[in-house]
Each structure stands twice: as C-alpha cells, then as structure tokens.
C-alpha cells in the first residue's frame, strides 16, 4: 500500500477532514443561508488538492536508495502478521494446489486478524448479556422515556421563569421590530391561504371585525398554535417557536382595519375585546 497511497497525501486529506468537522454548523444557532454552498466549494477544493497531491506522488520516480527499515518496527510487524517472507515462500507453497495456473501459499492466519475476530466475538457476547440477560442497558423505550423525562423537567423550569410563552401568558407585541418579524413569518407561512395582505383566500379574512374562533391575542395565538385541522388551519406549534407565534399573532392583530385588495366575506362573529 505504501507506494499506492503516499502517506503525505493521506495526511493532507486527514488534516482537511478533521478541519471539516468545524463545518457542521447544524449544531449552532441559525447560520447564514448559503453556508453550505461555501462548505461545498471548500470540500471540492480539498478533494482536488488531495487528488493532485496523490497523482503527483504517484508519477514521481521512486528514489533509488531504499529507506533504512527500523528493526523494531520489523519485529512488531512480524509479531502481528507471522507472515513468511517472499524469499522463503516456496517452503509454504501447497504443492498439490494448482488451479488453471493459480497456486496457493499457506501463510498463517495473521495474529492481528485472529485478535480482531476474538475481540468482536467477546464484544457480541457481552453486548447480548448486557442488554438482554442481566438487563443492564436501557432498551429503546427506556431510552426514550428518559429523554422525555429530562425534557419535561427543563420545560417546567422554563415555564416557571416565564421564558416559555403559552396561550395563558401571551401578550400583544406592538414594537415595530417585533411586528416586522411577525410580518416576515406571515409572508413565509401564511400567505398561501390568507393572502399577502391578510384579505383571505382559502382561509378567512384577518382584517375585518369577524372572528371564527375568537379574536384577541390569546385566541389568535391559540389558533396558530393548535390549528383547526378539519377547517384547514395547520397546527404551527412544531414549526414555530412560542416567540415566533407571539410575533405573528401580534402582526395579525395589527392588520385589523387595513384595506385588503380582495377582502373575503366576513365569517364567524363580531369580536369585542
């Protein structure tokens, strides 16, 4: 393998790959929209460079002088492989094996190979005992239950500290920055059914005085959060976080009284705060 894959290019590739670990920004908070375009370009560059390095060393003439072999390394290698040197292979050539000219040597099974095999067998026995005989390891349902338990504790803390907004604690935002954020969410998710100006298409008109499920920030927040699936309104609680739902609900309320281009006929009842 030494000649085939020059160790220097392998090192280059490895260094590049370990660096590339930093490129997984998925674990971070939001990152720029075209982040992965840059990552892709980087990857292509790395591959091409490594490839050129490989081809360069491939094409280079081998130095005439053989490198000095370390005696210790040779010893270790011999211990791990127990392989018969090429010069002596006639001693282990199987005389009566000749298949269409193919001959077979009878080299010993390399000790490193047997070791690997034994280790995997021991691991397997331990694994089955650990999970299914003494029941020491959690099976998938227990793992899941534990995950949920920890999340519930965290959630309770958040509700206590007021960081988690729900339909009981939600307040109307009137700040321009918040309403702009709400508008952005609205444009991205709601215009397909409620029209860009909130005048309604499949969904009802959001600008008039009439509300099917009640107006006001608490009701609007609730409808956004849980949806009214049989009527076509989706539940957004898994798509938007509470802050975002608060922002978009506030934006919807701010549309009240605007004049949409094609207002849908009123539906529901008049709502009075």
């Amino acid at each position: 393998m030494k000649n085939m894959l020059n160790s220097f290019s392998i090192k280059v590739l490895f260094a590049a790959l370990s660096l590339s670990g930093y490129l997984f920004a998925a674990g971070e908070a939001d990152y720029p929209e075209n982040y992965y375009d840059k990552v892709a370009i980087f990857l292509v560059a790395v591959i091409i460079l490594a490839f050129l390095a490989l081809a360069y060393f491939e094409g280079r003439q081998k130095p005439a002088a053989e490198k000095k072999k370390s005696v210790l390394w040779e010893k270790i290698k011999q211990y791990l492989t127990r392989s018969t040197p090429i010069e002596k292979e006639n001693e282990i050539l199987l005389v009566d094996h000749n298949y269409d000219g193919i001959r077979e040597l009878d080299n010993r099974i390399p000790p490193w190979f047997s070791g690997l095999f034994y280790v995997t067998i021991l691991f397997s026995v331990w694994y089955m005992i650990y999970y299914h005989v003494v029941d020491a390891g959690p099976l998938q349902e227990q793992e899941y239950a534990e995950e949920v338990r920890i999340a519930e504790i965290k959630k309770a803390e958040l509700v206590k500290s007021g960081a988690l907004i729900n339909e009981e604690t939600v307040t109307l935002l009137t700040d321009v920055a918040d309403l702009n954020e709400g508008k952005e969410i609205f444009t991205k998710n709601c215009v397909a059914c409620h029209a860009a100006d909130g005048g309604g298409l499949v969904g009802p008109n959001l600008t008039d005085d009439y509300w099917i499920h009640g107006g006001g920030i608490k009701n609007v927040f609730k409808v956004i959060k849980y949806g009214v699936t049989n009527k076509g309104m989706l539940a957004w609680q898994n798509q938007l976080n509470p802050k975002q739902m608060q922002a978009v609900a506030s934006y919807v309320i701010s549309l009240h009284g605007t004049k949409p281009a094609n207002p849908k006929a009123p539906e529901g009842d008049i709502w009075k705060e």
């Binding site: 393998m1 998925a26 375009d37 990857l43 077979e104 040597l105 965290k154 988690l164 699936t229």
Partner: protein, 709 residues
C-alpha cells in the same frame, strides 16, 4: 497419462461481457438522472414514467441485477470451466440462462417505470417476473453444478466455493422473500405483514448485498487477481476461515437495517452483534486479496488492471468496516434514513463492484480477442477519473447525511426543534447533491472511455469462439478424512460442500424468523387498529405505484426529536394489516406515518398538484396525473379477497359492497374539497391517495389506547 481434448465456449463469456457494458451504462445513466432530479425536480418532465419514485428502483435493479449480475455470469462462465478443466455442462442451458436473464432485465425496464412494483427494495419486480427469475436461476444452477460434477480437477478451488454459496443462498433469499399472493396478472401483496415483512425484507435486502454483490465478487477476486498479478494466493488457511465465517455470520445481520424501529429489541441486538462480528471475515477477503499482491507492487504502479483491483479490494475493506460501524445503535441513530447510507452503498457499488468489474474486463477482453489492450494510457485515465468520481460521491454524501441528521435532532434553548420545518434541512444539502451528481458524471465518463477502449481492442483483435484445451481425466483420489485435511476432503465432494453451505446459511435465518413468526407476544396487538377501507386500500396501492416510500419513511423512531416533529413513535401493532410494509429506508422528505389529520384535504390536493405551492423550494416532483386519472375500481373485490386470504379480517361478502363503500368515502372527500373552492371529482386517483394519507397513523389516536405488552 492420457490427455483428453475439449474446448471452452468463449461466446457465452463474450455475450455476458457485452451485456455487462450495455446495462452498466444504462443503469448509471438512470442513476445520474435521479441524482440530478434531487436538485432539479422538474427533470421528471411531468411524465410519470420518469419520476424519481418509479425510476429509482430501475436504477438499483439495473445496477445490481443487470450490470453486476451479468458481470458475475461473465466471470463465472470464463473461470469455472478453466478451474475444473471441462467445458460448461450444457451450451443450451448457457444460452437459456443468457437470454432469460436479459429478458428479465427488459421486463424490469418496462414494468418499473409503469409503476408495477411490489415496493420491496431490490425485490420490486412483480410475481410473474419473480417466477421467471427462479427458473433462470435454476437453469444457471444446473449448468454450474453439472459442470462441477463433470470436472477433471479433483478438488474445487476457493473461487468455486464462493460461486456455490452464492447460488444456494440467492435461491433461498429470493424464494422466501417473494412469497406473495397474486391479485391480478401484475399485482400482488406480500404474504407477510408489517414488522414480519420488514424483517424478511431486510434479511433479504442485506443478504442481496452479501450474496449477490459480495460472495460472487470474492469468487471473481480469487480467480482474476492472482491471474492478473501472476502471484500465488497468500493464504489457503485464511480463505477457508473467512469463507465459512462470512457465509455463516452474514445471514444474521439483516436487522441492522431496522435499529430503533418497531422490531423487537432482541432482534435488533442480534443484527448489531453479528454485523460487528462480520468485520474480520470480510477483512479476511480483503487481506487475502491485497497480500496476494506482495511482490507485485511495482507492477501495480504501471498496470491499470491491478490498480482497479487494488482500489476495489480496498473499497471493499472500507465499506465492510463502515457497515459494522453503522450497525452500532448510537451511530445508526444518526445515520439511518440519511444520505450517509447512500454513501456507504456507493463505496461498495462504485468501488468494489464497479472497479473489480472494470479490472476484469480490461484483463478478459484482450484475452478473448487474442490481442493487447488498445490503450493502457486511456485505461489509466479511466482509473483516475473513476477514482475521483467515487471520492466526490462518498464525501458529499457523508457530509450531507451527517449534516441533515444533526439538523433533524437539534433542539434550541426553549426545548423545541431548532429546524421544525423539514424543508430547511433539505435546502441546506442541495449543494452536496450537486457535487454527488458531478462525481457520478465523472464515474460514468470513465465507463464510456473504457467501452471505447475495449471496442478499439476488439477491432484490432480476432475473436476465439472455441478455445481448445487438454487435460487428463479425473482420477479417483483418496483424501484421508482425518484432522487437518477434513476440508481438503470436503473440497473433493462438491455435493456435500453445497449441502454444508446450505445448512450454514439457514441457521441464522431460522433463529431470527421462527420466534418472530411464532410468538404472538412479539407483536403486541392494538385493539383500535383496523384494516384499510376500500378507498384507502386503493390509495395505498397508488402510494406503492408511485413509490412514495423511496423518499418518505413510515416509521417514527423513538427519539424525542422525532416525536416532537412527527408525533407518537411507531408501534409494531399498527402495521399488522400492512401487506407489504412501507417503512422506507430513506428520508428525502419527511416521515409520513403520522401525517393523517395533520393537513386538510385541500392542502394535500394542492400539494400533489404542485408541491412548491404549499412548500416553496420543495424538491418533490409534481404529480398532476393523479388529478386527471380515474381510479380503477375494477380490482377492488380481488384485492379484498386476496387480503382476506392472507389474514386481513374483512368480513365474508365485503368484496360485494366494497365499491359502494369506496364511492361513499370518495364523495365525502370530494365534497370537502369543493367546499374549499377546489373543483375535485370523486372518481379521480388523487381522492384515494388523500383518503390513505389522512388515515395514516391515526388508528392509535382513536381512544388513545397504548399497546398492551
């Protein structure tokens, strides 16, 4: 010593070689098309026959069974007679085998784009074709075993051990996984349901990799690599050890495709541990191949044939290390349903199968035409282009898979999903899809170069149809049956050898199947789970026809990141009426097991018409024909009857009223759509599909019963 004269038939080898090249290009072209559709969905041209779901199985079947399949037969029909010093048993059987196999491939190429599919991965072909495959496989078996029995060589070489194990195991796999009940001439339902179907399918699916893509190729490696390198095989002992351990252990590993699923935990763990134990037996093949090259490494630098073979064997070693890694629960939690798996199979397919095939072709074609390769330089260029293609492919898919999975699992400080909208995680990896398609293009370019090079080689040579040879007759031998030479004795008894390998491969399958099939407690029943209504059943068959399960799984895994995104995780008892199961193996789009009731009917209607109207930027192709085609209800009664036969509790006589029920349900859905301003007609296919989607995963919500343990 009297020498007997005979001749080898090179024509059949030539035919299989040509078929290999032809189907290789076809299969890879289709692969390139679907790879491109993933970032340019409009490239289905709004034609059903060119849509991702339908041609993805065409790509896998063409590459596995047409390209690799023909290459296996090419390699065997050349090496087997020469290793046994006898012509193939029957020229007629050879011809039937060749033309039968090509006809099956053509049948696949016609039926799959038409949406005629069983939906079981790598076994998509419908029941009449399944029967044809069985017959051709038997013909091949008779031809091979007949040749072995007529041999002039007293012992069978290691390559032939692998050929025998391949034949035996593929026969068992294909027959057991293809048990299906015919409904019409080209429609059937899997005999197994739900979790059992999943277990059988992945026992089959994983062992298709093992016994169609691995063992025959190891056999080819044991013949062509020593031949090309002109070196003795490194270790006879090692070949015995790794052959028997490989075929014994491989059979057990199937459940690693179903980790963190509704499959019982004990079966999942068996899949994990046997996959881990597979490292050494697989690597035994790798080191025996690489160490055979000891003393020939200087030639590897010059000889493209050896280069191809070295990279092939190395890629095999990489893929067989990666596989066990992916079988560890914590790694699988990240990798399952992502592009990482796509990377994994393509290191095997492009590296191991592809490169070994190219090496063999470069070696074989000049031999058959008694000339030298037209251009060694061009073969070297092919090697480097192909190698670069593999690197692009694998790296981009590793990246894309891990990135997307981490995004799926990411929670924010508020304990909600950081990327609640699935589409966000898709749009991030589009650049990787572009790099992957580039890698594929490079690889295919190399193949085209190879074909040009080989055509030129053929033009300058002259073909030898009948190669004469001579060898002494088989002389009876007496291997003492004593310790140390027992295997040598077995090598002289091919029939015993075949039976022994059959027993060895049956053990793992039986141990895993029998409990899952016999013990009721493995599948906790859920009282509220009911069979599908006739309309939903028809809708489900449309889902199967369009192969929605190529991109959408129906299996919510027990992770909080999944239950937050999709809803309650999937229970085994929910699938008891699913013939076949539709868990899928890749999430290009979101999971659909809990999609029922999540969106209004109108959303589904508009979404199927044009996915981007509801999800801007979606990679899903539009399905306008579902809005135009009338649903074929003439099959409803036959479907109800067939399902009742295999255990779905439809009452007697239900088939007579099934279509009335169907019309009732369709009318209700159409009415709801009309109320929302959509001019829907109740007899269209889309209505049935909506009915099925709205039913999915809702049964356990009926009265919130939990499964009884």
């Amino acid at each position: 010593m009297e020498l007997e004269k005979f001749s080898y038939d090179n024509k059949i080898v030539r035919n299989f070689a040509f078929a290999t090249m032809l189907w290789g290009v076809v299969g890879m072209l289709v692969g390139l098309l679907i790879a491109t559709q993933l970032f340019a969905p409009e490239l289905n041209f709004s034609i059903p026959f060119l849509t991702f779901g339908r041609i993805r199985p065409l790509h896998t079947n063409a590459v596995i069974f047409a390209f690799v399949g023909n290459a296996i037969f090419m390699g065997i029909y050349y090496s087997l007679p020469r290793l046994l010093k006898t012509p193939m048993y029957s020229k007629l059987l050879s011809a039937i085998h060749f033309w039968g196999w090509q006809l099956i491939i053509v049948a696949a190429a016609i039926t799959l784009p038409l949406g005629i599919t069983t939906s079981k991965e790598y076994a998509e072909l419908e029941w009449p074709i399944d029967i044809a495959i069985t017959l051709v496989w038997v013909v091949f078996g008779i031809n091979m075993i007949g040749t072995i029995l007529k041999r002039r060589e007293s012992h069978i070489y290691v390559a032939i051990w692998f050929y025998i194990a391949t034949w035996v195991t593929v026969a068992v796999l294909h027959i057991v996984n293809s048990f299906e009940i015919p409904v019409t001439f080209l429609k059937s339902y899997s005999l197994y349901a739900g979790v059992q179907d999943a277990l059988v399918q992945w026992w089959y699916g994983h062992n298709a990799v093992a016994f169609f893509l691995t063992t025959p190729y190891l056999g080819l490696m044991y013949y062509y690599l020593p031949k090309a390198a002109n070196r003795p095989v490194y270790s006879y002992r090692l070949s015995i050890l790794h052959f028997w351990t490989l075929i014994f252990i491989y059979i057990w590993a199937g459940p690693h495709h179903l980790l963190y699923s509704a499959l019982p935990d004990w079966a999942q763990s068996l899949g994990t541990v046997f996959s881990v134990m597979l490292i050494a037996p697989s690597w035994g093949g790798m080191i025996n191949g690489l160490l055979t090259l000891r003393g020939a490494w200087d030639r590897v630098r010059q000889d493209p044939i050896l280069k191809f073979m070295v990279v092939a064997v190395t890629a095999y070693g990489m893929a067989t290390f990666e596989g066990p890694t992916l079988s560890l629960k914590n790694v699988n939690a990240i990798a399952h349903f992502t592009d990482w798996i796509i990377a994994h199979v393509h290191v095997g397919a492009l590296g191991w199968n592809g490169f070994l095939t190219f090496g063999i072709l470069y070696w074989l074609i000049p031999k058959l035409w008694r000339t030298n390769l037209y251009s060694v330089k061009m073969a070297n260029v092919h090697f480097w282009i192909g190698f670069l293609g593999i690197v692009f492919y694998a790296l981009s898919m590793w990246f894309s898979g891990i990135t997307q999975s981490l995004m799926w699992k990411q929670f924010n400080d508020l304990g909600t999903l950081q990327y609640p909208n699935f589409l966000e995680t898709v749009l991030q990896i589009v650049p990787m899809y572009i790099i992957r398609a580039t890698g594929g293009t490079l690889y295919l370019t190399g193949v085209v170069l190879m074909i040009y090079n080989l055509v030129k080689t053929i033009k300058q040579g002259s073909f030898l149809a009948e190669e004469t040879a001579e060898a002494p007759a088989l002389h009876p031998f007496k291997d003492p049956f004593k310790k140390g030479t027992r295997h040598r004795w077995l090598e002289g008894k091919p029939v015993y050898f075949t039976i022994a390998s059959l027993i060895v491969i049956l053990i793992g399958g039986i141990v895993e199947f029998v409990p899952t099939f016999l013990i009721k407690s493995n599948i906790p029943t859920i009282a509220s789970v009911k069979p599908y209504t006739p309309l939903e059943l028809q809708g489900r068959d449309i889902y199967i026809r369009e192969a929605c399960n190529s991109c959408h799984s129906q299996l919510v895994r027990p992770f909080r990141s999944e239950t937050e995104r999709y809803g309650e995780y999937s229970k085994a008892g929910e699938y008891v009426y699913d013939h076949p199961f539709l868990w899928g193996s890749k999430r290009t789009g979101p999971d659909l097991h809990r999609v029922g009731g999540k969106y209004p009917n109108s959303w589904h209607y508009l979404h199927m018409e044009n996915p981007r109207s509801m999800s801007p930027g979606s990679l899903m192709p539009p399905y306008p024909w579902l809005l135009e085609n009338d649903l074929n209800t003439s099959t409803t009664a036959a479907k109800i009857n067939a399902l009742r036969k295999i255990g779905v509790p439809y009452p007697e006589g239900y088939e007579d009223i099934a279509n009335d029920e169907l019309v009732k349900q369709a009318d209700a859905i159409a009415l709801d759509l009309q109320k929302n301003g959509i001019p829907a007609e109740p007899q269209k296919e889309i209505i049935a599909l909506i009915a099925y989607l709205q039913r999915l995963g809702t049964d356990i919500k009926v009265n919130n019963q939990t499964a009884q343990k």
